[in-house]
Symmetry: none
DNA sequence: GGAGCAGTAG
DNA sequence: CTACTGCTCC
């Protein structure tokens, strides 16, 4: 028997929405420590990895590891039936072929129960090595979203280049070209929220190209966290991470476009 | 070399947005006094004329007259990348085939540079004669916007008739008809902003019909000025003018619909 | 001015 | 069936 509950069911809905555009279905791997999920997009260029820690749940019980094969579009349909302030409980029998999603309004005056049929999904769990990245940038997630969205009006590939002082997003296309540079925030900045800052940790300057189309997919997760962390290396995937207080994180990996000139 | 800078880049973005719906591309004529632009809509019914005085810029330098052929949709894409509070600089080499648009956030922590490819646009500059209009109405621009929008739900042609006392906007359609009359504000009105007033200067009563579809296009400029001035004559174009403090104005000309009954 | 929805296009 | 864009409501 697996059972967990979240005070903010809405959070879970946003998580599923953030995964859905990239992968059709995937296995929720539930164990004593929490829930994880991994999936690649259909073209095998991007990977999304979700890790939810049991500490983020108001209730968590996992007698025995279970794998829940989920079609995200179908789950999303059910989650649309959840109220904005609803508490969410997820339950699954050890040998069942469905999972139950219960939505409860704050005063429990409305209780909804949905049963989602599970799927059998063959999918190797990819080990993502904990690598040392050459550059790690933390910035407001909304700013990253805006940059990706705006630049995709100009072209479809962004070049991200990082120096100690700044991170530069450049794009080129038929109508012209453009770049946006974000300077590392002054460490002495006392005023303003810390989440508004741009922080750069650099071991070595990097420059890599990425398909904006995927980055724009990633920014579906903007609602989940005020900040986003971009980790870059040379000829290795970009990692875009959104950390949720307590609950864990959602990470997106995107292979760089290797210059074809 | 042409170079100018605006403290409120946002203003320029709104200007381009106000032009864009009507004309696809046009020539920015830059000379020692400022920038002007003219263009007709594709059906040659409406004309937009922009005039920006150099006094409105925080920096202005024009060694030699230049013509910048701009595709407004493409420029708008780049201007979307500008922050709300950004300062805007525009630069063009005398013989270049592109113009550069630089956006700088207030604290300069974000600097963006976009290069827009210029076009070769053949277009005669139309001389718009300074005519004496029979009626000139000044009213809050938001009110004019609301009237045009609301009336277009009833029909597609508005009749504007002006007397000394009031201006009347009438519309008719399948579902019925309606009209909205605005009385000239009392000159003795001490309370309230002057921009809230309706002022009518009349030489002779006028009545003309106009296509609401264009008027609704014109009201994209509402954000640029608190007031709008409508100038009418008989069988001559309506002029809809939005004046910006210091910077100049945007004017729209619309030929009347001649009754075909 | 932004977000959500619906309608369209791929 | 899904993803984007335009529109309308907030």
């Amino acid at each position: 028997m697996f059972e967990c509950a979240l005070i903010q069911g809405e959070l879970f809905r946003k998580l599923i929405a953030s995964v859905q555009d990239l992968v059709q279905d995937g296995n929720f791997m539930c164990d004593a420590n929490g829930i994880s999920l991994q999936g690649m997009d259909s073209s095998h260029v991007a990977l999304v990895a979700l890790a939810l820690k049991k500490e983020g749940f108001v209730e968590y019980r996992c007698d025995r590891d279970v794998t829940l094969g989920i079609n995200f579009a179908n789950l999303a349909k059910m989650l649309k039936c959840m109220g904005a302030k609803d508490r969410l409980s997820i339950r699954a029998q050890d040998e069942g072929d469905s999972a139950s999603f219960v939505f409860e309004s704050e005063d429990s005056s409305r209780v909804s129960n949905f049963e989602l049929k599970l799927m059998q999904i063959d999918q190797e769990q990819l080990g993502v090595p904990e690598t040392q990245y050459k550059a790690v940038i933390r910035m407001p997630s909304s700013e990253f979203q805006r940059i990706c969205k705006d630049l995709s009006a100009i072209g479809d590939t962004v070049s991200i280049s990082v120096t100690k002082e700044a991170v530069k997003f450049s794009v080129g296309g038929d109508i012209g070209s453009g770049d946006m540079s974000l300077r590392q925030s002054e460490s002495g900045d006392v005023d303003g929220d810390d989440s508004e800052k741009v922080m750069i940790e650099l071991e070595e300057p990097v420059q890599q190209n990425f398909a904006l189309r995927y980055l724009n997919n990633f920014t579906k997760a903007t609602a989940l966290s005020k900040t986003v962390t971009l980790s870059l290396g040379t000829d290795m995937p970009l990692v875009t991470e959104y950390k949720m207080d307590n609950l864990g994180s959602i990470r997106y990996y995107l292979a760089p476009k290797i210059d074809e000139e």
